[in-house]
Symmetry: C2
Subunit: 720 residues, 2 copies
């Protein structure tokens, strides 16, 4: 092979390594301290480093050969990791195990999900839906230890996703035998995309329509045994197949499941909320919303995951941008680094700022969620739930909107990073293409992003309407901290940016003054207030129209009119929710940066400015129509971008270094810390695709083509 020869032609340390070393020669801040700050302290960093090392040294976690594995190989390799992790779960304090899983979610999103369907979804459903007796029963059967039992979560059906109440699967109570009969009545009722179902699960939590004495009581949850854990074979009445090849996350065995009159004991219905008694009496729960908790957890995790995944993507793109050269300036003796181009800085550095924003927002919503869960856990029977429910509602809406905003942002971020690798971004061995495929599902599962964004929008509009109603009564609406600004929309919309516009030139002379965090924060707040006010106005206008002629007592007609008004204002609501989330993220970013030690403040402040300036440039329409910033302000911010980018560019490699991801975790030769990018890439490609003496199908396919009789061309002559 020529490879060794040509490889060694590059002197060590080679040009690329030197290029990266140069970036680290004089960092503007202590990089290690930045890592501690981002991780939440030295101990947390060291714990992460321990996990990264442990994974790297265990061959089952090998990642470099993934692109060349077949689907069955990937499925088996992924499952083989479960045993190890299950043991950690049994032996580690919860917070340590959670930290380990956070690392794993970045290393192997497929495995994280495969284990997540058991712990997060199946066991999570037991925790939130089972009575304490039921929970004890399933734990004793092995649900927590994953012993003789592996769970899956059967909610989605082929024809039904977001609208859980429309699921078709039935659970009919048979009083005679004290059993439920679980049944799939149609093709569209087939449970679909069930992670863990195709190969692994012995049990599942099935969402089905409860039918008692011929009456429907809505969708409830039932534990249904699926396979014999000793033999691995399906139980009677259970049909399961593999959903097959997916865009990404091929380590998960998603399957479809059909039930044909499957009988389970009555006690297998999870009865924490709704209960079905022996005689068929159905007792409905007083507070159905309490079951929201489990949904929120998943969404918060995805906000955190967005930041983590973005860090990985940027480590690759920024290190590559610092070694790859292209075109030379006149008179230069070598080509220019990509990262030194204005346009490359425009492409990558705002994404770096977004990553930091998501990092801090993730930390904040995680803390909010933990506090809320503690509140919920300490609820005493008979206690007034008003405040807790208000917080639950806000957290539910906020986390829904942020999940959508951050997963979309990250999807775009990965793709933009991928494109900055040029042609190499199309390879499966440079890391970003597979990352994109693994990530994409985050925009759909645990709540479709569009549906979630509209949900947040509905909450924002209702807050805004509440505030208006309160004002007419001379009171002030009680709104949660994150939406408190909606209590004073009219006042907010009157604000104008105090940075002066020069009367003579019509220009803003002090552009940096616009980029002061408090000015930016106000700009985001006014933009959000304006968008929510617009959505509310559109809703009210539509509501008046649809309510015309509807009697005040006709509840059904009034509900229909309200729905139509929501529908007519849907797009404005959608825009309002996105604008709110963008500003929310910015606010959390500023809050997080405020806590930074003095020697880290400057680079973080530059990122805050860049995030703000980029948002204003990209969404100029939103900011201009809200009236706080004038065209002159926006233009000044646009003009300031080049200088902002040049400043952040100097920090770019130290900042991704501070993410402190090992080469193993990053999983791309292009993200290698030493900058020896081409040698690692060549080695990986050639090791996994060893050169062959000739094509495997040369004799069967290529030779017959090249040597075919070209009689075809002679036919016309025969006709002469």
């Amino acid at each position: 092979m020529t490879s060794t020869t040509t490889t060694t032609m590059i002197a060590a340390p080679n040009r690329e390594m030197a290029a990266l070393a140069e970036e680290r020669a004089a960092p503007a801040f202590p990089v290690r301290d930045m890592t501690y700050f981002l991780d939440g302290g030295k101990d947390a960093t060291e714990l992460k480093e321990r996990f990264m090392l442990e994974l790297e040294r265990d061959p089952v976690w090998r990642k470099d050969d993934w692109p060349n594995l077949t689907l069955p190989e990937m499925r088996e390799r992924t499952m083989a990791k479960a045993r190890l992790i299950v043991n950690f779960l049994a032996n580690e304090p919860v917070h340590v195990f959670r930290a380990r899983m956070a690392v794993i979610s970045t290393v192997d999103p497929g495995f994280w999900t495969r284990l997540g369907v058991h712990y997060g979804l199946f066991f999570g459903a037991l925790q939130s839906q089972a009575t304490s007796n039921q929970l004890t029963y399933w734990v004793q059967k092995g649900a927590l230890a994953v012993h003789n039992m592996y769970g899956c979560f059967l909610m989605t059906e082929m024809g039904h996703g977001s609208n859980v109440q429309a699921l078709e699967t039935t659970a009919t109570f048979d009083e005679a035998s004290d059993e439920f009969v679980i049944h799939t009545p149609s093709l569209t009722a087939t449970k679909w995309w069930i992670g863990g179902a195709a190969h692994t699960a012995t049990h599942g939590t099935v969402y089905a329509q409860l039918i008692v004495r011929g009456k429907r009581h809505g969708v409830k949850v039932f534990v249904v045994p699926l396979r014999d854990p000793k033999a691995g074979t399906l139980l009677p009445g259970i049909s399961i197949g593999d959903c097959g090849k997916k865009f990404g996350r091929d380590g998960i065995d998603n399957g479809w499941v059909q039930f044909t009159n499957v009988r389970i004991p009555r006690s297998y219905m999870l009865m924490k909320h709704t209960q079905v008694k022996r005689d068929g009496t159905v007792i409905d729960p007083p507070l159905a919303q309490l079951s929201y908790g489990a949904l929120i957890q998943g969404r918060v995790a995805m906000v955190v995951d967005s930041g983590n995944t973005a860090k990985k993507a940027l480590t690759i793109a920024i290190r590559y941008g610092a070694i790859r050269r292209q075109f030379a300036s006149p008179g230069a003796d070598q080509e220019t680094k990509l990262l030194d181009y204005t346009i490359h800085q425009h492409r990558l550095l705002p994404l770096l700022a977004q990553t930091f924003a998501m990092h801090f927002a993730g930390r904040e919503v995680d803390a909010m969620y933990t506090a809320l869960m503690e509140q919920l856990d300490s609820v005493q029977p008979g206690q007034d739930m008003t405040t807790v429910l208000e917080t639950l509602k806000e957290t539910h809406a906020t986390s829904a909107g942020l999940k959508a905003y951050c997963t979309w942002t990250t999807l775009n971020l990965i793709e933009q990073c991928r494109q900055t690798l040029g042609g190499h971004g199309y390879s499966e061995y440079t890391g970003l293409a597979p990352m994109l495929k693994d990530w994409a599902v985050q925009c759909t599962w645990e709540g479709d992003n569009t549906v979630l964004t509209l949900q947040l929008g509905r909450f924002l509009v209702s807050c805004c309407r509440e505030a208006i109603t309160a004002k007419t009564k001379g009171t002030r609406a009680k709104l949660g901290a994150g939406v408190a600004y909606l209590a004073q929309v009219p006042e907010i919309l009157k604000r104008v940016c105090p940075v002066p516009v020069d009367a003579a030139s019509g220009e803003v002379t002090d552009a940096m003054a616009v980029l002061d965090p408090s000015i930016l924060r106000t700009a985001f707040e006014v933009a959000a207030a304006c968008a929510v006010a617009k959505a509310t106005r559109e809703f009210e206008t539509a509501l008046s129209k649809h309510m015309q002629g509807v009697s005040a007592t006709n509840k059904k007609a009034r509900a229909a009119a309200t729905e139509r008004a929501h529908e007519d204002s849907a797009h404005a609501r959608f825009v309002a929710a996105k604008t709110h989330s963008m500003g929310y993220l910015f606010g959390k970013f500023v809050d997080g940066v405020a806590k930074a030690p003095a020697d880290l403040a400057a680079p973080l402040h530059r990122l805050v400015q860049l995030y703000g300036a980029h948002a204003i440039t990209e969404h100029a329409g939103v900011f201009l129509t809200s009236g706080y910033l004038t065209a002159a302000h926006v233009s000044a911010v646009q003009t300031a971008m080049n200088a902002l980018l040049r400043n952040v560019r100097k920090d770019a490699v130290p900042l991704v270094d501070a993410f402190n991801l090992t080469d193993f975790v990053v999983g791309s030769p292009f993200g290698a810390k030493d900058g020896n990018i081409y040698e690692r890439y060549f080695e990986r490609v050639t090791k996994l695709n060893p050169p062959l003496p000739k094509a495997p199908y040369f004799e069967s396919t290529i030779k017959p083509l090249l040597e075919r009789g070209i009689q075809d061309e002679e036919y016309p002559e025969l006709e002469d």
Copy 2:
């Protein structure tokens, strides 16, 4: 299997089929006529239909099992198609063959590329770079017939892409033997991503630095034999390996190639432009730009391909949106179709309008290109080339910008369509996930989109500067038709939208007047003029700065200052180019629609309005800052969106029907013309992934997990 039973539970024609039939009950226009109009006549439609049928009936073109093929299987299957197509090439008139290949590019982008590396790139290089004697020689050797010869195109290197002049591979003339020595001097000089190299090619056109008597003469093209066509094995000095797994287009055998002192006769250098004589004299060409022609062809093809691929994606997303139901209105007896939701219309219908815009723009630039090539072919020796070169420059720049604009638009369009399928969009069997992966490379190859966009920007800025210079001289710049507006930027920027704003309300009362095509066209033109003027201004300002103190005679320093000025204004130039392309597309769309027969005009007009309204809504900042539209106009357009969407929504299914793609070509159960989406999906998934009695790795991996001794939990007790 339960499947049959549950399948037959749905009465035929089922609910989904009925939903789609309903959409076709009363189309607002003659659908078949629309197909004829889009295809360019009844004959063209019938030809396409013939090709689609022929492909569908030939088992080698089978597509449904692609997601389950391994990489080697996909490579072999793809290659097996070549023989068939090569025969058509030999026996069909060129225009018929081109029409056939246009269909094939939509059916199998991987095959299209695999054949394209031979015909478009290898043979294309011969056509544009070889002397006529050389061309005859290679044709006689089999280059046209693909007989004993299959070509590849070796330009890109591991460390060098867009900057062709920096390629490292050397071609050193050895006077003694009258040969060139082709050599790979370093790892980064390895030819990379070479389609056809890994398995197929016997010859390649190699781009290498010509070195004669120790002096470099820049990059030239050399034909280098790579493999023995009889044996399929590599020739001495040739090292080739497989680039392995890619994001998409796995049917192409992309490889890497290294040369170690490979000798070829002097006559294997393609000498149409530069010549190397027997004695080592190098004769440089008078008009190097003439070789641009080949680049333009590829880019024009990609604009056309963008429209075709977008049609396929929308056929899937819109038909699915018309059958999938989710959430019910209060009182409704079934859930609402996705396509009836305002937000779903916002997601999909502007993409439908974009598709039509790309269709018409593709047709137009294709015609421009053909006319230009005819001009070039008829050039006589000694003829004045000024006009032809001006047109060449404009076509080169326009096609570069449009290639970038349309391939990016289509990438986003496919992903948006994919997300509207919800979870099913993550399956490889519903068509859009693989389409995205196949498409993504279009944003990078044949000119990276960012680089191309900046190229167009540079052309626009130079036109604008030319116009200013001409004006100071009292003349008017001679600019090509597509950029003629840049000759009168100051006049254009004074324009204000004539649609009145009501003084009392501050609102536009007649929103539809803003959506008149001529008003919209002006809005796009003013926006483009404003963006180009801004980029030009930024360039001039930076140029004055960098030219300070530079002597008028110091050519090198002046060139460096100019480059720095281009660099400082890069982002403004980038925005200018994108704004220009957006408007160019709109203009071609309006021109195309103007040619429509009367009974097709109304639905097309609605799409034109929607395209315009959507662009204004999405890029409000761009339109607002250009000054033609006021905030009141933009707000009126935003408000009009719901009504526009409702109008286009009625046409949605008939419009995608008019694309006239057969189920085979669409290749997705979700795009099935009969609407029997779920049954087809279930059938495809289960046929390709037959249910198994138990997991293949149950004994090795799952059972040991479920039955492991859980001693781990007992350790702590031992310590007591």
